[in-house]
Symmetry: C2
Subunit: 136 residues, 2 copies
Amino acid sequence: MDEDNIDFLAQVSWNSEGLVPAIAQDHSSGRVLMMAWMNRQSLRLTLEKGRMVYWSRSRGKLWRKGESSGHLQLLREMRLDCDGDTLLLSVEQVGNIACHTGRNSCFYRRYKNSRWETVDPIIALPQSMYPQSNAK
Amino acid sequence: MDEDNIDFLAQVSWNSEGLVPAIAQDHSSGRVLMMAWMNRQSLRLTLEKGRMVYWSRSRGKLWRKGESSGHLQLLREMRLDCDGDTLLLSVEQVGNIACHTGRNSCFYRRYKNSRWETVDPIIALPQSMYPQSNAK
């Protein structure tokens, strides 16, 4: 499939690397859970599967959110901003844990008095989420 | 001031251009209003003034949000994500309009059936927000 021929994909302003920032927000609590990146393929797969598929810049490959931890993000709604260069995804966060540290949201550090303070609790220990990493 | 010596600034993972994505969320409604970029100076000014100052990539200069329209964003809380490369700002949106199109949020287009549909109303006409642009 020539993805550039899909009109809604062509309306997204992909950056020079073919990526766009994607903000995931919990559809029920309204909390912003994380920000990651998507390319055309990950966006198409997200729509096809109904769950979030990002592009991992560090690993240089598709990142099927929750494939290791089970903490999938089911897509409820997708929005595009005014200049077309950012996506906002309303999601149902399975397990209520979006962060690899075992927290609800990746934004668990709050600025106070020139410091970043950790203010949100760990819900699940990372080793229980990623059992295979114990093997190392 | 040597900003790299400020510890909380050094804990932010600035990209190769010295920028970090900044997500503004309405502190009362929970709506995600916009995503923009910040550099060290804009972050420092935001904290100093208590209102959002971004870095405009297109104009290559500081962007004091609301300086033309009056629609300032007053800072309520600032958070950093787990890998330190995204900021989340809880703000009080003056005038309830964050978008230059006169809407509450920049994310006013919703995906449906392979199209982006405009689903949010215009609250104020852009020409009433930016009267000087009528001069052109």
